[in-house]
C-alpha cells in the first residue's frame, strides 16, 4: 500500500509540474533574488541637518525607493552639531537595529572617520554624500567640488566679460569643510589659466548670511569695481546679495553661487536677477545614484569596506538665459506629495 501511495503522490507531483511548467519558464528569477537580498534591510541617512533643502530632497527620494523594495528608511537630525552627528552614528552602529547602509553627510574631512570605520567593521556599508572625507567609504556620491569651483569661476569670468575690471571677490565658507576648501582650489585653477582676472578679497562667511552680508559690504566698499562675486553656498549667498543690493550695484556685480537646485533657493533667485549663475546639483539624479548603489551593495555580497567608488554628480552652471521649467526641483511640491 505504501508503495502505491508513493507512486500516486509522485504521479501527482509530476502531473502538476508538467502542466505548470510553461508558467515556471516565464518566471524571471531576478525579482525574487532582488527582493530576497533587499527585503527588510535598513538604510539610515545622517546629514549635517535635516532642515535644509538638499537633505530633505535626498530623504524624499531615498525613502520612496527604500519603501518600495520593502526596507526601512530612517533619518537622524544632528542639526548642524558635529557631536550630535557622531552620537547618531555611534547609536546606529550599536543598536539592535543596526542599519545595513549608512549614508553620511560629513561636516568636515576628519570628524567621523573612526566612526565610519567602526560601522564598516560591524558590517554596515557606508556611503558618503555631498561632502568628501578622509575615509575610504564604500562609495562617495556628490559633487566634485574642485570641478564645481572651476565651473563657478568660469561662470564668473563669463559674467564679468572681457571689458570689465576683471576683479573677483570670493565669500568662502570656512577653512575646515572640504566643500569650501576644494571649491577654492578649483576656482584658483581657472584663475591661473586666466591671469588677468584677480581675486581682490576672499573673506569667510562661516556659512552665515549676516556675516556674508557684512564681509561683502566691506569688500564692495573697498573695491566698488568688482565685477563678480562667488559665494560658496546659496544658504548664505542671500547675504552677499543683500550687500550688492544695498550698495546699489545690482546688475553690475555678477553673483555666482552653488546650491541644491531648489526652486525658491535657486531658480527663483536666478529669475529675479539676484544670482547671475548657480552651479546646481541635480538632486534627483544624485539621489538616484545613491539608490542604485544601495541596491547594488546589498545584493553584491561583498563585505562592507571592500569597495571604494566615486560617483560624481554631473554639474553645470545655470544662468537666467538657460533656465528651464525643470531646472529646479520644488521642495514644497515634495512635501505636499509626502503629506498625501
Amino acid at each position: 500500500m505504501k508503495i502505491i501511495r508513493t507512486f500516486m503522490a509522485a504521479a501527482a507531483v509530476l502531473a502538476v509540474s508538467v502542466f505548470s511548467a510553461p508558467s515556471f519558464a516565464a518566471e524571471d528569477p531576478g525579482p525574487a533574488a532582488y527582493s530576497q537580498a533587499l527585503k527588510g534591510k535598513r538604510v539610515m541617512l545622517i546629514p549635517m541637518a535635516m532642515g535644509f533643502d538638499l537633505a530633505q530632497g535626498w530623504a524624499h527620494f531615498l525613502k520612496k525607493e527604500v519603501d518600495a523594495w520593502g526596507g526601512t528608511f530612517e533619518t537622524r537630525d544632528p542639526n548642524w552639531v558635529v557631536d550630535a552627528g557622531a552620537q547618531a552614528i555611534t547609536d546606529a552602529i550599536s543598536s539592535d537595529t543596526r542599519p545595513d547602509v549608512l549614508i553620511i553627510h560629513s561636516p568636515d574631512l576628519n570628524s567621523y572617520a573612526k566612526l565610519m570605520k567602526k560601522a564598516q567593521a560591524a558590517g554596515t556599508y557606508v556611503l558618503l554624500v555631498d561632502n568628501p572625507a578622509n575615509f575610504p567609504a564604500d562609495a562617495f556620491v556628490g559633487s566634485d567640488w574642485d570641478r564645481l569651483g572651476q565651473l563657478e569661476a568660469e561662470a564668473a569670468i563669463k559674467g564679468c566679460g572681457p571689458n570689465s575690471s576683471k576683479k573677483l571677490g570670493l565669500v568662502q565658507g570656512d577653512q575646515a569643510n572640504s566643500s569650501s576648501l576644494y571649491q577654492y582650489a578649483g576656482i584658483m585653477k581657472v584663475l591661473e589659466k586666466n591671469p588677468d582676472f584677480k581675486v581682490v578679497a576672499k573673506p569667510d562667511s562661516n556659512w552665515d548670511a549676516t556675516t556674508s552680508r557684512n564681509v561683502t559690504t566691506t569688500m564692495l566698499q573697498q573695491n566698488p569695481d568688482i565685477c563678480a562675486i562667488i559665494d560658496f553656498w546659496d544658504g548664505d549667498a542671500t547675504g552677499a546679495a543683500a550687500a550688492i543690493r544695498d550698495a546699489k550695484l545690482e546688475g553690475k556685480v555678477f553673483l555666482v553661487t552653488t546650491g541644491g537646485g531648489e526652486k525658491t533657493a535657486d531658480c527663483d533667485k536666478l529669475q529675479d536677477g539676484t544670482y547671475g549663475a548657480v552651479v546646481m546639483t541635480d538632486l534627483a539624479r544624485q539621489s538616484g545614484d545613491m539608490n542604485a548603489l544601495i541596491k547594488f551593495l546589498l545584493q553584491s555580497g561583498q563585505p562592507a569596506g571592500t569597495s571604494k567608488t566615486y560617483i560624481y554628480t554631473l554639474e553645470k552652471a545655470t544662468t537666467k538665459a538657460d533656465l528651464k521649467p525643470d531646472s529646479c526641483w520644488d521642495l514644497k511640491a515634495l512635501q505636499a506629495e509626502a503629506a498625501k
Partner: protein
C-alpha cells in the same frame, strides 16, 4: 582727568580701556587701511553691529539686574521664522503678527516667572527655554531652516528703507539705545534695575517690587530679540534658524561684558554697550579689509578680549570691598 589733563590711570575702568583700544584701532585703521575712513564704510561698521547691539541692549538690562538671557537668539530667530512661515502659508498679516507677539511675550513671561518666583537660576531657565523655543518651533511650526520673506511684504520694504543713505537699522539701534538710556537713567523703574541688581535682598527690603520687575526685564529682552530678528529678515529677505547654533549669543554677552557691564549685576549702562559694539565693529571691519582668515579673526578677537580683562584686573584689583556676592 586731573588738573593738567592727564587721565587718571587709577580711575580707568574696563570701559575706559576698551574705549581706548577702540580709539587706537580706529586711528590705526584710518591711517593704515585705505577706504576705512570713508563715510560709507563707517556707516557699514555701525550697521554691521546694529542687530548685535540691539540684542546687547536687551541683554544689558537683564545683566544689570543680575540675570542673563541665553534664550535671546533662539527667540530672535524662531519668532521671525514662525511669523514668516505663517505669512507664507496664507495667514493674514495682523493675525500672524499677533500670534508671534503673544508667543514672544509668553516666553519672556515664562523666563521671568521661573527666575523670579520659582527661584531657578537665570542661566538654567533661559538655556532651557531657548532650547525649547528652538526645538518646538523648528519641529512643529516651520518646515525648514531658512524661511523667505514673502515678496513685497513690509518686512522686505523695511530692509530697503534708507534715510540720508543710511540703513534703517542704524536708526533703530540708535533710537532703542536712547530709549534704554532714558529708561535706565531717568525712570524710577530704571533706577530700580540697578538697586535690584546690586543687592536684591536690600532692594526688596526697602519696598521695591523686585519680582515683577524681574519678569518685566525678561519680557523686554524677548521683545528686543523680536525686533532684532525682524531687522535681520528685513535685510536678508529671509531668516535662517541656523543662527541659533552660531556664536551670536556669545557675541551678545561679549559686547555687553567687554564694554564693562559686570556679570554680577548693578553696574554699567547703555554707554558700555555702545563702547563694546564699537570695538567689535571696528575690529571685524578692519580684519575683513585686511582679509584675515576667519580662524585668525577669532584668535585676535579673543586675544583683545583677554587683554582687556587682564589690564582691568591690574588696574582694578579685586578685594573684599569691590567683590560682590554672586560675582562670576
Amino acid at each position: 582727568m586731573n588738573a593738567i589733563g592727564w587721565p587718571n590711570w587709577r580711575s580707568l575702568n574696563q570701559e575706559g580701556i576698551v574705549f581706548a583700544i577702540a580709539v587706537v584701532l580706529f586711528a590705526a585703521a584710518a591711517i593704515g587701511l585705505p577706504g576705512f575712513i570713508d563715510p560709507n564704510n563707517l556707516v557699514a561698521i555701525v550697521r554691521s553691529v546694529s542687530v548685535l547691539g540691539i540684542l546687547a541692549l536687551g541683554m544689558a538690562v537683564v545683566i544689570i539686574g543680575r540675570g542673563i538671557d541665553l534664550s535671546a537668539v533662539a527667540i530672535m530667530a524662531m519668532s521671525v521664522a514662525w511669523y514668516l512661515q505663517l505669512l507664507n502659508s496664507g495667514t493674514p498679516d495682523g493675525l500672524a503678527f499677533a500670534y508671534v507677539l503673544a508667543g514672544v511675550i509668553a516666553i519672556g513671561l515664562l523666563n521671568g516667572f521661573l527666575v523670579a518666583y520659582a527661584d531657578v537660576p537665570a542661566i538654567f531657565v533661559t538655556l532651557a527655554t531657548g532650547s525649547f523655543v528652538f526645538g518646538y518651533v523648528r519641529s512643529q511650526l516651520i518646515s525648514q531652516d531658512a524661511v523667505p520673506v514673502p515678496q513685497g511684504h513690509w518686512v522686505e520694504l523695511l530692509g530697503g528703507l534708507r534715510f540720508l543713505d543710511i540703513p534703517v537699522e542704524v536708526f533703530i539701534f540708535a533710537g532703542l539705545a536712547f530709549v534704554f538710556f532714558l529708561f535706565l537713567r531717568f525712570t524710577k523703574w530704571g533706577r530700580y534695575v540697578y538697586f535690584a541688581g546690586d543687592n536684591p535682598v536690600a532692594a526688596r527690603n526697602i519696598g521695591i517690587p523686585v519680582r515683577p520687575m524681574l519678569v518685566l526685564r525678561y519680557v523686554l529682552s524677548a521683545f528686543v530679540a523680536l525686533v532684532a530678528g525682524l531687522l535681520t529678515a528685513a535685510s536678508l529677505h529671509s531668516i535662517n534658524t541656523r543662527i541659533v547654533n552660531s556664536t551670536l549669543l556669545y557675541d551678545i554677552v561679549l559686547v555687553a561684558v567687554i564694554g564693562g557691564i559686570g556679570l554680577s549685576g548693578g553696574r554699567g549702562g547703555v554707554r558700555n554697550v555702545l563702547v563694546g559694539a564699537a570695538l567689535i565693529g571696528i575690529l571685524l571691519n578692519a580684519m575683513t579689509i585686511i582679509d584675515i582668515p576667519l580662524l585668525y579673526q577669532n584668535l585676535i578677537k579673543a586675544a583683545i578680549l583677554l587683554g582687556a580683562i587682564i589690564v582691568d584686573g591690574f588696574i582694578n584689583p579685586r578685594d573684599e570691598q569691590t567683590a560682590q556676592q554672586g560675582d562670576i
